[in-house]
C-alpha cells in the first residue's frame, strides 16, 4: 500500500504536469493570437475588406466630337443595360420565355444562362429604351436594369469612316475615335460599397465614390455642310456611272485642315457589322490607286523648278505614239508640237515623258519625295499607309517615263490632295489634319501636341513655280482643256484630270475595262479657299476623269463656295458671325 507522502507527491506531479500542458497551450494560443493579430493582421484586414467591399467601375462619359461649327457628330447617351441575378430567380424557364419574346432571342439558351450558379450575368447591353420599358413591365424578380453609356452618331453615315466607332466597352476602335481614344475616353470612376455575408449591400449610401472624369471634346476641321455636299455628289455620281465606289476630299490649302472626307460605300457607325470590316475602312488614307495624269503636276513642278522647261516651250508630241524602252507610249489624241502648258492642259503622256527625260530620274524622284509621296502624311487618323514609290535603284528603263505620267506609283487620296494644296498655297507642303481643337471636361481649349500639328510647312517649290503651275492648271479647265467640265461659272478654277487603268487581279496586267477616274483642283485659283479631289473607282463606260470626275468637282466646288460665303450660325463656337445668307426658294 503506497504511503500518503507518495500519493501527495504524485498528485502534485500530475497537477504540475496539467498546469504545464495548460501553460503550453495558452502560450501556443498567445503566440497564435500575436501571429494572427500582429504579424498577419494587416493582410487579414485587407482580405476582410475585399470580402465585405465590392467595387464597381463607373464608366466615364466619352467626349463629344463636333464639326467646326459646333454640330455634334458623335456623343454619349445614357441607355439602359439589362442584367440578371440568378440566385434571385426562382423559375428561370418561365422568365426566360417572357424575356425571349421581348429581346427577340431563343428562350432555351437564355433559361440555361439564368440557371447558372453566378451572382451576375449581362442579358443585353445598351438596349433600346422601349425594350427596357417592356422588360420593366414584366416585373421579373432578379432581372434588373443598369444605366450605361452608348455612343451615338446622330448624323448616321455622315463622315462614318473618318469618325470610326467605339466598341461595347467604350473604347475607340477605328478612325478618330481610335486615334484620339485617350483624349475622348476620360478616366473611369469607382464606387465601393459594403456588403454582408449574403452579398447584399449594407448601406444605401456608398462608402467611397471616386467620380469618373469625363473625356475631352474634339472640334474637327470638318464642315458638316461640305461633308454632306461631298457625300451627296459622290452618291449621285456612283448611281449615275455605276462605279464601285469613290472618294472626295476637300481641304483648306492654307493649313491642311480637312473640310470633308467622303468615302463610298457608306458606313454607319451606329450599326457596325463585324462581318464586313472593309465597310469601315477609310479609303481616303488606306487605299492606294495609280494617280495617272493628276501626277503630272509633280513632274511639271520639278521640271519648272529645275529650269529644264518653261511654260511656253514647244514639245513635240509625236502625233500620239512614241516608242520608248522597247514599248510605245500613247496619247489619248494625236498631238503635234504644242507648248508645255498645252502638254499639261491636254494631258499628253508623250510630252510629259519627254520633259521627264530632260529632268532625269534623280530629280524626279526627289520631287516625288518632296511632295510627300511614298511616306505617310501624318494625318491624325489611324490606319494611314505610306503609298508605293520604288527607289530609283529599282526603276526599269520605262520607269522614268511612266512614273512621270502617274503609273508605277501608288498614292492615297490624302497624299494627292495635299500635293495639290502645296501648289495652291504657293509651294508649301501642309500637314493634313482633322482635329482643330481639344477641349477638356470644362470646355477649355487644350494645346494639341506639337507632333500632331506640325506648323513647319516645308517648301516644295518656289512661289514663282507655283504661280506658273497654277496658270498651267487653269488652262486644263479652259474650254480646250481636258477638265473643261470642272469650270465653275464666275470662279477661276485650276486642276487636273486623271484616268488610270487598273490592274486586272486575274491577269496581273493593266486592263482598259477598269479605270480610276479622278479630278483634283482648287478654287478660286488665285485665292484658293478649297482643294478638292474626286476619285471614282471603276465607272462604267470610258470613265475619263474629265467626263466623270470633273463635273462632280464642279458641283462640289460650286456648293462649297456658296456655303463658305454664308455666315455661321450665331452659336458658332469656331467662326464669328458674318453678314450673308443663301436661300432655298420654292419653285
Amino acid at each position: 500500500m503506497p504511503r500518503p507522502e507518495e500519493d501527495e507527491f504524485r498528485s502534485r506531479g500530475r497537477a504540475v504536469a496539467v498546469l504545464a500542458v495548460l501553460a503550453a497551450l495558452y502560450a501556443a494560443l498567445g503566440i497564435r493570437v500575436v501571429y494572427l493579430q500582429v504579424i498577419r493582421g494587416p493582410d487579414f484586414v485587407h482580405r476582410a475588406e475585399r470580402q465585405h467591399e465590392k467595387a464597381i467601375a463607373v464608366e466615364a462619359e466619352r467626349g463629344t466630337i463636333y464639326d467646326r461649327h459646333g454640330n455634334i457628330l458623335a456623343a454619349d447617351l445614357t441607355v439602359p443595360s439589362l442584367y440578371a441575378v440568378p440566385p434571385l430567380i426562382d423559375n428561370p424557364g418561365s422568365i426566360a420565355r417572357e424575356l425571349a419574346v421581348v429581346l427577340g432571342v431563343d428562350p432555351l439558351p437564355l433559361a440555361k444562362r439564368l440557371a447558372e450558379p453566378r451572382e451576375f450575368i449581362w442579358l443585353s447591353r445598351r438596349v433600346d429604351p422601349a425594350v427596357a420599358k417592356a422588360v420593366e413591365d414584366l416585373g421579373a424578380e432578379g432581372v434588373r436594369l443598369m444605366p450605361e453609356r452608348r455612343r451615338i452618331y446622330p448624323k448616321k453615315a455622315l463622315l462614318g469612316q473618318a469618325l470610326g466607332f467605339a466598341g461595347t466597352d467604350h473604347e475607340g476602335l477605328e478612325g478618330i475615335e481610335r486615334a484620339y481614344d485617350r483624349t475622348l475616353r476620360g478616366e473611369k470612376g469607382w464606387l465601393v460599397y459594403e456588403r454582408d455575408g449574403m452579398g447584399q449591400r449594407l448601406f444605401p449610401k456608398d462608402l467611397r465614390y471616386v467620380a469618373p472624369s469625363r473625356g475631352g471634346d474634339l472640334v474637327l476641321t470638318i464642315d458638316e455642310v461640305v461633308q454632306y455636299i461631298s457625300e451627296r455628289e459622290l452618291d449621285a455620281v456612283i448611281a449615275e456611272s455605276g462605279a464601285d465606289g469613290g472618294t472626295i476630299v476637300v481641304m483648306d490649302p492654307a493649313d491642311g485642315g480637312v473640310l470633308a472626307m467622303a468615302v463610298r460605300q457608306a458606313f454607319n457607325p451606329n450599326d457596325v457589322d463585324a462581318r464586313h470590316p472593309a465597310s469601315w475602312r477609310n479609303r481616303a488614307i488606306t487605299d492606294l490607286f495609280e494617280p495617272g495624269s493628276t501626277f503630272k503636276v509633280v513632274t511639271a513642278a520639278a521640271a519648272l523648278e529645275a529650269g529644264v522647261v518653261r511654260a511656253d516651250d514647244l514639245i513635240d508630241c509625236e502625233r500620239g505614239a512614241w516608242p520608248i524602252a522597247g514599248g510605245v507610249l500613247h496619247d489619248h489624241e494625236p498631238l503635234g508640237r504644242i507648248s508645255f502648258s498645252d502638254v499639261i492642259a491636254k494631258s499628253s503622256n508623250i510630252g510629259t515623258a519627254k520633259v521627264a527625260l530632260r529632268l532625269g530620274q534623280e530629280r524626279l524622284a526627289r520631287s516625288i519625295a518632296a511632295f510627300g509621296f511614298g511616306r505617310k502624311t501624318g494625318i491624325d487618323v489611324g490606319g494611314e499607309v505610306s503609298g508605293r514609290v520604288r527607289p530609283t535603284a529599282r526603276w526599269s528603263g520605262r520607269s522614268l517615263a511612266t512614273m512621270a505620267i502617274g503609273q508605277e506609283v501608288g498614292v492615297t487620296a490624302i497624299q494627292l490632295v495635299t500635293a495639290y494644296a502645296a501648289v495652291a498655297n504657293g509651294g508649301r507642303l501642309v500637314k493634313p489634319h482633322l482635329v482643330v481643337e481639344v477641349r477638356d471636361e470644362r470646355g477649355r481649349a487644350q494645346p494639341i501636341a506639337q507632333e500632331e500639328h506640325d506648323e513647319t510647312h516645308p517648301r516644295v517649290m518656289s512661289e514663282q513655280t507655283a504661280e506658273v503651275l497654277t496658270t498651267i492648271l487653269e488652262r486644263v479647265v479652259s474650254p480646250r482643256g481636258t477638265g473643261a467640265l470642272a469650270a465653275v461659272e464666275g470662279v477661276s478654277v485650276a486642276g487636273k484630270t486623271g484616268t488610270a487603268q487598273q490592274i486586272d487581279p486575274a491577269t496581273g496586267r493593266y486592263t482598259a475595262n477598269r479605270v480610276v477616274s479622278s479630278f483634283v483642283g482648287f478654287a478660286p485659283s488665285r485665292r484658293p479657299a478649297v482643294v478638292v479631289l474626286v476619285v471614282i473607282d471603276n465607272p462604267e463606260g470610258h470613265g475619263w476623269g474629265g467626263s466623270v470626275a470633273a463635273p462632280v468637282f464642279r458641283r462640289v466646288v460650286e456648293a462649297t463656295l456658296r456655303h463658305l460665303e454664308t455666315p455661321s450660325a450665331p452659336s458658332d463656337p469656331v467662326r464669328p458671325p458674318a453678314t450673308a445668307v443663301t436661300l432655298l426658294v420654292p419653285r
Binding site: 454640330n71 455634334i72 456623343a75 454619349d76 447617351l77 445614357t78 451615338i152 446622330p154 448624323k155 448616321k156 455622315l158 458638316e224 455642310v225 454632306y228 451627296r232 465653275v488 461659272e489 464666275g490 470662279v491 478660286p524 485665292r527 479657299a529 460650286e558 456648293a559 463656295l561 456658296r562 463658305l564 460665303e565 454664308t566 455666315p567 458671325p577 458674318a578 453678314t579 450673308a580 445668307v581 443663301t582 436661300l583 432655298l584 426658294v585 420654292p586 419653285r587
Partner: protein, 123 residues
C-alpha cells in the same frame, strides 16, 4: 439650518440648470442631425432629378442633331418643292463693317453680284 438649505437649493438649481443645458444641447444636436439627414435626402432627390433632366436634355440634343441631318432636311425641302438656286441667281450682300444697329444677315436674290465691294466676294 438656513445656510444648509441654501447650499442644497443652489446645488439643486445647479444640477437642474446643467441638466437643462444638456437636454437643450442634445435637442439642438438632434435637430441639427435630423436636419442634415433631411437635407441629405433632399439633396439626393434633387441630384437624381438633375441627373434625370440632364439625361433627357442630352437625349433631346442628340435627337435635335439627328433631326437636323442635312439629308433629312433636304429630303423634306424637296417634298415642299424647294430647290437650290443656281449660282447666278444668288447675290450675297455684305456690309463692311456691319453696322451695330443692323448686325443682321440678309441676302437678295437678284443675280450673282457681290455688293458693295469685290474685296468681300467669295473666297
Amino acid at each position: 439650518m438656513v445656510a444648509r438649505f441654501q447650499t442644497w437649493y443652489w446645488r439643486l438649481g445647479g444640477v437642474w440648470g446643467l441638466g437643462s443645458a444638456v437636454v437643450i444641447v442634445s435637442l439642438i444636436v438632434l435637430w441639427h442631425h435630423s436636419r442634415i439627414v433631411q437635407l441629405g435626402y433632399e439633396t439626393e432627390r434633387l441630384e437624381a432629378d438633375k441627373g434625370r433632366l440632364e439625361r433627357i436634355h442630352r437625349q433631346l440634343v442628340i435627337e435635335r442633331e439627328s433631326l437636323a441631318s442635312l439629308d433629312r432636311v433636304e429630303h423634306l425641302a424637296a417634298g415642299l418643292g424647294l430647290v437650290h438656286l443656281a449660282p447666278r441667281e444668288v447675290v450675297v450682300v455684305r456690309m463692311d463693317p456691319p453696322p451695330a444697329e443692323r448686325d443682321q444677315t440678309f441676302a437678295v436674290a437678284l443675280g450673282r453680284r457681290i455688293l458693295p465691294a469685290e474685296a468681300h466676294a467669295a473666297p
